[in-house]
Amino acid sequence: MQVNEGFKPTIVAFCCNWCSYAGADLAGNNRLNYPAEVKIIRVPCSCRVNPMFILRAFQRGADGVIICGCHPGDCHYTSGNYYTRRRMSLLFSMLDYLGIERERTRLEWVSAAEGAKFAATMNDFVEQVTKLGENKRLEDLRCKQ
């Protein structure tokens, strides 16, 4: 990484209890490294993630927010992740429309068996957000320059 060396982003990861949180545990079991900037919040299902939580994270200084859920078709609650997908498609597109870098948000499907995918996803996401640098934009959205 050439840009922003030394910058440690704050990353919030919402993980569904049944697949992605278990996937994160598996990454731990297999001692697969990913940056400590990632902090996981456990939710029963990705569909529990309210867009307000994401905006709150950004406003409180998060530099990136990632939501992880079961693969489509595998939701423990049968359909929760389908709703998540619609909600996040619209929310992310709106954030992009407001001029917030689209690389700061991500929705990823990680199964309980995909410890390696979890670690790889987090490595990639942290690298991506680190390149962007600090997220001032959402915090400043209503402030005059």
Partner: protein, 329 residues
């Protein structure tokens, strides 16, 4: 030029009040000037003769008032075509009792925007009359000024989505058609900007917000019993001074909460004292919904399933959605 006249509306109301079909009437009431129109509840033809008005400034959408309406018998409500979409959407959400309402659909030839008129005519506008395709603006200092009516319509009327009523008990005048409107052009223009330009645009617009809540209070979709921003348990309730979260995220969250339910009536932008183009947030969601999930017009029919409480197994992934949403990277 409105094809149905004020006199015709009063006569219709008088007839319905007389024969006991309704006991009260939601209608527009004139204020200090003809163009200062406010929503009001009338109980007799006499009251209406005195204060009721129907002119090019009757933008107010009465659908939302039906939620809190109470009283014996039915209430008469006049609905312009765009109002009927909110009417249906609120019915879909079980927000009022259809049996308690007598809806009269009235044609609308678009509503004028007094801000644009004042910008053109300058100080001291005392009244505006409509003569054919022209607006006659009466001013204190410059006498009468004649303006081309079409140029001074509200933005939402210039890109009117429908002259067709989707709900009514009775229709006055002729019904129109659903228009192939250019209402997403402004959104597309924003999308064509760079991310930095977009951020600058919104920062400039939203920084003017004084959190007066007028947009929320007028919005038919924003009709919650209690708003999340007033609910201590939501975790976002706080006065603006002590928690900047509420201030900064208010408009984004509000737009998300009404996504899929917003009929694009445009009332939010009409009432904003700071002239923030709030409808551009809602229209972005509508445009995205149309692009991602197929065209959907909230309120077009009662009982339709809103896109955010629905899904298909092959829905677009957010990463692709952001690209297809049309905004510049």
């Amino acid at each position: 030029m409105q094809t149905v006249t004020k006199e015709m509306l009063i006569a219709k109301a008088a007839e319905l009040l007389d024969n006991g079909s309704v006991t009260r009437v939601f209608g527009w009431q004139k204020g200090e000037f003809d163009y200062d129109v406010t929503p009001a509840l009338f109980h007799s033809a006499a009251e209406m003769e005195k204060d009721f008005v129907w002119n090019d400034f009757c933008g107010a959408n009465f659908s939302k008032y039906l939620i809190k309406d109470k009283g014996e018998g039915k209430v008469l409500v006049f609905l312009k075509p765009c109002d009927t979409y909110s009417f249906n959407q609120l019915l879909t959400e079980h927000r009022f009792d259809r049996e308690k309402v007598y809806a009269v659909g009235i044609p609308c030839d678009g509503m004028a925007d007094i801000r644009l008129i004042k910008e053109e005519a300058g100080e001291g506008v005392t009244g505006v009359d409509t003569e054919g395709d022209e607006l006659v603006v009466h001013t204190l200092y410059d006498g009468d000024i004649r303006l081309n009516r079409g140029d001074f319509l509200a933005e939402r009327c210039k890109v009117c989505k429908s002259k067709k009523h989707v709900a009514y008990d009775e229709l006055m005048g002729d019904d129109g058609e659903i228009a192939d409107s250019a209402r997403f052009d402004e959104v597309a223009k924003l999308e064509a900007m760079s991310a930095d330009e977009r951020f600058a645009f919104w920062q400039n617009e939203l920084s003017r917000c004084i959190r007066c809540n007028a947009c929320r209070d007028v919005c038919p979709a924003c009709s919650c019993e209690k708003c999340v921003f007033g609910n201590p348990k939501s975790g976002v309730e706080n006065k603006a001074a002590s928690d900047s979260f509420e201030e900064k995220m208010f408009h984004i969250i509000r737009a998300f909460h009404v996504a899929g339910r917003c009929t694009d009536c445009g009332e939010c932008s009409r009432v904003c004292p700071q002239h923030i183009p709030l409808h551009l947030l809602n229209r972005k969601f509508i445009k995205d919904i149309d692009t991602f999930y197929g065209e959907y017009q909230a309120g077009a029919e009662v009982g339709s399933r809103a896109p955010l409480v629905d899904y298909t197994e092959g829905d677009i992934e957010p990463s692709k959605a952001v690209e297809r949403g049309g905004a510049n990277a």
